[in-house]
Amino acid sequence: MKQNLHKNDLRTAAILFGIGMGGFIDGILFHQILQIHNMLSNRFFPDSLVNIDINMFWDGLFHAATWIVTAVAIYFFWRAGINHRTVWSGKTFVGGIFLGWGLFNFVEGIIDHHILQVHHVVQRASGLTQLLWDLAFLASGVLFILIGSSLIKRGKVQAVTQAVPTRSGVYDEAELSPPH
């Protein structure tokens, strides 16, 4: 069972990288460069220096969580690297990143924008425009999940077709790896 779990390390690393990258794009691009929303901008609207400072603190916590996810991704990537059973597939890796990014956009969108409403994608917009931006964010999540899943499936097919039969006749992914 443990070996089978380790077989998924590359995919898990890629998904975690995708979550991390999605989080950093949200935090760096939306929170800091474009400043269209902050972590608690629906509760503390950033129209005063005090509210901006409070949001900045919570943006920092958000970035810290995203950093931890990326650090865990590095751990899994390292583990995949030292595991001789790892099948190195670009499709699996890129697919995993898309899947993770999509999962981030979808889960964060559903929870933060729609259920708890701690912020919206474009905080200064109102009514239908605000809702449309929130829905567009969710749609990007679904799109990335579909792209990611499709690439991961194609990566699996590629791995199976490239696998060589062992003496027992069973296809062994380990034989795809270079000798150590």
Partner: protein, 76 residues
């Protein structure tokens, strides 16, 4: 060695000196007091903390499920 350590020690003595840190004009401003109170208020609100943490908790659960191979055609 002494030429390297001496300026560093001097720097630390000046800038990490509590009397310097606590005399910082920003730390004693009304705005800083208000910000600290605001942050303490938000951190003391369990609903808000859970709200901020929940996407990451849900994502962690999803990643654990995916890692354990809980998908069609793939078993532990």
């Amino acid at each position: 060695m002494r030429r390297v350590i001496a300026p560093i020690a001097q720097f630390l003595l000046i800038f990490l000196n509590p009397s310097f840190v606590w005399s910082c004009p920003f730390c004693h401003s009304d705005r800083a007091t208000e910000v600290r109170a605001g942050i303490a208020q938000t951190l003391g609100n369990p609903a808000l903390v859970l709200a901020a943490a929940s996407p990451f908790l849900v994502l962690a659960l999803v990643v654990i499920i995916l890692h354990c191979g809980f998908e069609r055609g793939e078993r532990l």
